[in-house]
């Protein structure tokens, strides 16, 4: 087990990349702590899988180095890196039994039979397949096959890291939750570094201690679920995390207030002069409908999602979503919306600007 360091790493699938747009992965420096549970979150095509394959050695980066501890493994083969990886779609060896499938990575590394037997039994119990160990893997359901893949990923104890590439895509929701809990438990028990790729924020937030959000080939933020929620470093994080995402309104920032087409919105802190396109971001959870306090809002639609209601409205030409707690009456008298000042984030060209005096 070791810390994984990415140095000036970048990757392009073109042989001769001409500019930044040709890079699937833009230059990055990044450290994954030993024993951390990370989620790599981002929309499809943002470079998550590319990054994962570079770490596992299935792909050689076009530039930069990959270090495991102090050792440079950039040119090392996957097998040498001693990494486990679980793929999006189940990979099982059809002609083998479930038992042989689970034992395969151990056998290839020449472990002794007694150890293999014990380990396979243990993993089989964990994924709930101990009763069908001697069945052929061919013909099992996609669920079961993916569980075997997961089991094969976890069967080796000495791995440097376990990488998961959207492993629960094909599993039904109930099972998803159960397996995720098991992974989490496994992490606590053995302390492997785990990197879990997903585009599902619930999955990311429940699995990981640290969530790494990627957008357009870049890591835009790495933080705890709370940090991502409260202070998104990039408008994409604001939009991608949360349901619905953060409201973004173009505004001019002057000291401690934001000017929104004539209306002034107080901010929680003061800001220095900012250049570029400025926006304020506020989570729907921190918007309150009022009868006259705040900014005028035109309500378009109200959606009841059970625990609360989502109000879709329009403030000064921008879409604003408001979450109204259960039990609150939404009537025609509510014509304004108030933003909680210290929950407002300020963005310049999509990146968060820290206030003067710099509380985060």
């Amino acid at each position: 087990m070791s810390q994984i360091t990415l140095k000036n790493l970048a990757h392009s699938y073109h042989a001769n990349p001409r500019g930044e747009q040709d890079f699937a992965l833009k230059e990055m420096d990044h450290v994954w702590d030993d024993g951390g549970a990370y989620a790599l979150l981002g929309s499809s095509g943002c470079g998550k899988t590319t990054l994962l394959n570079i770490i596992s050695g299935l792909l050689r980066p076009s530039q930069g180095r990959v270090l495991f501890g102090d050792r440079d493994v950039t040119d090392a083969e996957t097998a040498e890196r001693n990494i486990a990886q679980v793929f999006q779609f189940p990979v099982v060896y059809d002609t083998m039994t479930v038992r042989e499938n689970l034992a395969f990575p151990l056998r290839n590394r020449g472990m002794d039979a007694a150890y293999i037997k014990a380990r396979v039994t243990q993993i089989a119990a964990m994924i709930g397949m101990d009763h069908i160990l001697d069945r052929k893997a061919r013909g099992l359901t996609a669920d079961a096959k993916q569980k075997i893949s997961l089991g094969r990923g976890m069967v080796r104890e000495d791995v440097n890291a376990i990488l998961f590439d959207e492993p629960l895509t094909v599993i039904d929701p109930h099972m998803k939750w159960e397996l995720r809990t098991q992974l989490k438990q496994l992490h606590r028990e053995f302390g492997h570094t785990m990197i879990y790729v997903t585009h599902d924020q619930t999955e990311a937030l429940t699995f990981a201690d640290k969530v790494v959000v990627m957008y357009d080939g870049r890591v835009v933020q790495m933080g705890t679920p709370e940090e991502l929620f409260e202070t998104p470093a990039h408008t994409f994080v604001g939009y991608f995390i949360g349901s619905p995402g953060m409201n973004l309104l173009p505004a001019e920032i002057r000291g401690g207030t934001a000017q929104l087409q004539g209306a002034a919105v107080p901010l929680g802190a003061a800001y220095g002069p900012i250049s570029g396109r400025t926006q304020i971001g506020i989570r729907p959870e921190y918007c309150v409908l009022t009868e006259g306090d705040g900014l005028p809002i035109t309500i378009k639609r109200v959606e009841d999602v059970g625990r609360h209601r989502i109000i879709r409205g329009d403030v000064a030409g921008s879409t604003v979503n408001v979450i109204a707690p259960e039990g609150m009456a939404v009537g025609a008298s509510l014509t304004h919306v108030r933003f909680t000042p210290d929950r407002i984030n300020v963005y310049a060209d999509d990146w968060r600007v820290a206030p003067i005096g710099g509380a985060v």
Binding site: N53, S56, G57, L58, E77, T78, A79, I83, A84, Q85, F87, Q88, F89, V91, Y93, D94, T95, M96, F104, P105, N108, R109, K136, R138, G139, S149, R152
Partner: protein, 290 residues
Amino acid sequence: MDKTQNNKAWFLVLPVLVIVAFSAIIPLMTVVNYSVNDTFGDNQFFWAGLEWFEEMVTSDRLHEALGRQILFSAIILAIEVPLGIYIALNMPKKGFWASVCLVLMALPLLIPFNVVGTIWQIFGRVDIGLLGHYLAELGIDYNYTNDPLDAWITVIVMDVWHWTSLVALLCYAGLQSIPNAYYQAARVDQASRWAVFRYIELPKMAGVLLIAVLLRFMDSFMIYTEPFVVTGGGPGNSTTFLSIDLVKMAIGQFDLGPAAAFSIMYFLVILLVSWVFYTVMTNLDKEEGK
């Protein structure tokens, strides 16, 4: 619930029935007719019962031809299947060279059978053939017209040249359908090259491979044109396979009765083998879909 029966639908089957009757049933029945009668021309038939069948079943000539036939099929399968798999594994997966390989591989398959025969007949000739001439120059005593072993080698090499592509192309298609994740997983699992072949590639190819074996078996079991053009079944009877023997009997000697009995048994053997293959194949599918 009462349903009014409308039997007019049967008329829709009629065209197919007519076509099948003329293309298969009537010709087959003609053969059946010959096989149970004796004829001296003029469309005069004398009932012979199962006499021809008895004669054929006990005929040494037929046994020898059958033996040669089985040996031939076994040899070409033993060469073409592994060779085809080997070629498929080593063909480029994509890009310009993949297309070049595909076209080159497909070429032998597009040449008419008798042309293939002619090519090899000339190629192997000791006097003017490229192969035969240079083998003679090298001091190798090669002559397919008077040495049975040379004749066999020529016919087998010709068949391998002609048909290995088919096996290779089918296997190639099977290999192309394996998702990349399988190879990646194998690398993560530290599987050896042999294990990748044994546990990933071979199982995924099993379906197409079975079709390839079936096609090659059927075709080689019924082979006629190419060896006929190259060796004419000789020297002696050494390359006289079942079809060649059958034609000799029916057209050369005009023994229509025995030839018809022979044909029917030949047909039944092929039907039997096809049925076995079909059963194995559908069982494999069933296991897959379970």
